[in-house]
């Protein structure tokens, strides 16, 4: 048991650095994919067929590509196009590009959950487009969107570990460093698991709470 704690206390800095970078990566990619995903989502529900087709193509291509491949493409192939990006920004871009497709789908299906009759009734009452959107459609759509959006972000937090395979020191990269130092891996991995549980469980709890609280009666 002493050895178990020593793994953490002897390598405290590595764990702190690793998890700090995990959180940084998560926050940057969360903002990035919210922006790009919302843009794509808006395209998919827009009245312009060309934009709808572009959004759909993006989602279908990205969703069927492994995230690891997106990472590999950015780290190994993109420099061959004379575009040089550092490892950390590359990882943030990979996560953003990948997660945006899922954010887009959440937005699209969130808007689609609002029954057409709601908007029709609002228009029948003489509301303008802006009123229909801000008073009737969006509030209902947002309530339907938030819980699945949370689970997309929970998945993304876990996905940040993949950056370990591409020279980014985050939590997922700790085992490789520790293997070099000859630390007992079982203890190392347990500590990383505990770290992720601390990060993820509050998010899961919040998501379940919102799911129950904001269930839209239909």
């Amino acid at each position: 048991m002493g050895a178990f704690f020593r793994v953490l206390t002897d390598n405290g800095q590595l764990f702190v650095d690793g998890f700090t970078n995990t959180v940084k990566l998560f926050l940057i990619a969360a903002v990035g994919s919210l922006v790009l995903g919302t843009l794509l989502g808006a395209m998919r529900v827009s009245p312009v067929p060309a934009l709808r087709a572009f959004g759909a193509t993006y989602v279908n291509l990205v969703r069927n590509t492994p995230l690891t491949l997106v990472f590999a493409f950015l780290v190994f192939a993109v420099p061959k196009l004379d575009v040089n990006i550092d490892y950390f920004p590359s990882a943030a871009i990979a996560l953003t590009v990948y997660t945006s497709a899922f954010v887009c789908e959440v937005i699209r299906s969130g808007v689609n959950t609002v029954a057409a009759g709601q908007a029709e009734a609002a228009r029948a009452l003489g509301m303008t487009f802006g009123q229909v959107l801000t008073l009737i459609v969006l509030p209902q759509a947002l309530r339907a969107m938030v819980p699945p959006m949370m689970s997309v972000y929970i998945a993304m937090l876990k996905n940040t570990t993949i950056a370990a395979g591409f020279s980014v020191l985050e939590a997922g990269a700790i085992p490789a460093y520790m293997a070099e130092r000859g630390e007992p891996q079982f203890a190392v991995l347990l500590w990383i698991t505990i770290g992720f549980l601390i990060l993820i469980l509050p998010l899961v709890a919040l998501q379940r709470f919102l799911e129950r609280k904001w269930r839209v009666a239909r």
Partner: protein, 290 residues
């Protein structure tokens, strides 16, 4: 009109004109974007014959096929074991006895919260620490089974729970035993309702085999890295990854399409009383959304 029409009215003459203008502008924008990417490709010589010529060689094609084979092998083994794992732990979670329910719940919740790569590392580094030799294939498979098995357990549980309770009541009322109710009444209906969700979870599993790259299991992505890193062919990373991506998209895309087709079909024929579980977005945590 598509379902999305809730956000806008049927366009009148002015809106039609505006939409046409927006359509043309966005088409031009998209083409310009693609043209820029194409220019970048040409400018850095990605279309040079040298970068593509090795794909004509039977040996390189065999390498790619070998990588694909390793990917499918890991995915196949993991899929079978994950379905088993899911079935066992779903029945644990659905049990009336807390002694079965509590540990099953704990296991399922735990493995869904741990990043898949960390689970794979458990399978990879821990045997190394104790000096056991483990095949990288099994390190990968262990991780995939624990994670996807847990998600599948939730899908199974949701599938059983989606069968209206009246079905169970009715079955008990005509004198069936618990085992018969599950086997004859609940399962047949649940399987239909959860088939789309299962197929899309298997797409997730197939995509996740690419994590084998990180523990140097020689799957498709790993083989792609090797082929792309060959100096005599001018480091053809870009062509290689495009080919690898096309292979993944073709396989996963057709499985995803199957899931959507199943969902549509199951939703259409009212043969099942249970609501069809959605074929979830691969990659996000499907079971949580149900």
């Amino acid at each position: 009109m598509s379902q999305a029409s809730i956000l806008y009215d049927l366009p009148g003459p002015r809106a039609k004109r505006r939409n046409a203008i927006l359509g043309v502008a966005s088409t031009v924008g998209i083409i310009a974007l693609l043209a820029y990417v194409g220019y970048k490709f040409a400018d850095t010589g990605q279309f040079e014959a040298r970068k593509w010529e090795q794909f004509q060689y039977a040996s390189v094609q065999r390498e790619l096929l070998g990588g694909l084979g390793a990917t499918l092998k890991a995915a196949g083994i993991a899929a079978v074991l994950a379905l088993l794992f899911g079935a066992v732990f779903a029945s644990g979670r659905l049990s009336d006895k807390w002694i079965l329910r509590t540990p099953a719940t704990f296991v399922v919740e735990l493995f869904r919260a741990i990043p898949l790569l960390i689970l794979i590392f458990f399978g990879y580094y821990v045997p190394l620490q104790y000096g056991w030799s483990i095949d990288k294939l099994w390190a990968l498979v262990i991780g995939l089974v624990l994670y996807n098995g847990s998600v599948l357990a939730e899908i199974f549980r949701a599938g059983i729970n989606a069968v209206p309770y009246g079905q169970t009541e009715g079955a008990y009322a005509i004198g069936m035993r618990k085992n018969q109710v599950l086997r004859l009444i609940l399962l047949p209906q649940a399987v239909r309702s959860m088939l789309p969700a299962i197929v899309s979870q298997l797409v997730v599993l197939l995509k996740d085999t690419a994590l084998g790259f990180i523990i140097t299991y020689p799957e498709l992505l790993f083989v792609g890295k090797q082929i792309g890193g060959r100096l005599p062919f001018g480091l053809p990373y870009v062509p290689t990854y495009l080919i690898v991506a096309a292979i993944y998209i073709a396989i996963c895309g057709s499985l995803s399409a199957l899931a959507w087709w199943l969902q549509k079909r199951m939703g259409r024929t009212p043969r099942t009383a249970a609501k069809v579980l959605p074929a979830q977005d691969a990659g996000a945590d499907s079971a949580r959304m149900i």
